[in-house]
Amino acid sequence: MNLSLFSSRWSPYAAGALVGILAVLSVVVTTAVLDKPKYLGASTTFVRAVGFIEQSVAQEHVAQNVYFNAKKIKVDWQMLFVAGVFVGALISSRMGKTSQLETVPPIWEKRFGPSATRRAVGAFIGGAILMFGARLAGGCPSGHGLSGNMQLAVSGLLALVFFLIGGIITARMLYGGQSWDK
């Protein structure tokens, strides 16, 4: 098994197991340093980020919103964590020479054609629906899927099962019946 920083890919088992260790270390370090455990998660950052954007045009409105008040619009651990994901993926893809400019993914193109505009609209609508769903469910595959299930939380398992059911049914309806070469 090759785990060189410059190799193009690592086994998903190895990379995943290292994420498990990272998640536990994160809890240990944040407990020791911040006196509060930080379990990995990503979706609340999108609430805070859009809160910052809205504040610049409608400060009063944001100040009165119950949800923004509950989540507290701030640059915190998680926002830097999400920014770090960008940096880490950039470093890894450059070191492994796996950066790839992609405007329309192949599976999408087979079903909806090569239009980058159509793909943009699809990605935008999909992103909006999934984030609304993630906030309603209380988390995304990071917060519920990884962190929740590591803690054997009932909420984590329930959320993961319904993420998968929704995804599998929709993907089958949208892209099903395509020939597949891995």
């Binding site: 944040t30 994901v85 890894s92 990605a123 939380a153």
Partner: protein
Amino acid sequence: MGQIIGLITGILFGFLLQKGEVLRFEKQVGFMLLKDMTIIKFMFSAVLVGMVGIYSLAGAGVINLSLKSTNVGAIIIGGLLFGIGWAVAGYCPGTSVGALAEGRVHAIWAILGMLVGAAAYAEAYPALKSSVIGWGNYGKITLPQVLGVSPWVVIVAFILIGLGMFYWFEKKDL
């Protein structure tokens, strides 16, 4: 200090997501079509290792759990909505940012959509709180509590199920 720790943790997480090839639309949708189990191999490996670590350290009193509430109605409806949007976008919140970094420029539209979805949720929250979110709230509970067994019984069961799945994925070349 919290921000610096968050940044370092995020860089390592993004690095591992990219090396594991889970940032790709093809892998995410490939799983949803049940043709390519890369993201499940990655995620379950992380969860199995994580649960052993978390429960060992929690048992030793070094760390505390931080559970999310079990709001059954909100999780089922929100979970299904998430799945629908995930299949269309091809990314989840964490992977979208990393996908953009490895050159998948269309992920920016998914990220902008997620921001709009978050804003819409903030507006809808008061109405949802007095309805869906209250449907079947069982609080912060764990599987071992519900089943009335030691967490290690649940962990061993998950590990056996996980290893069985991994064996099957490799045998079927998924």
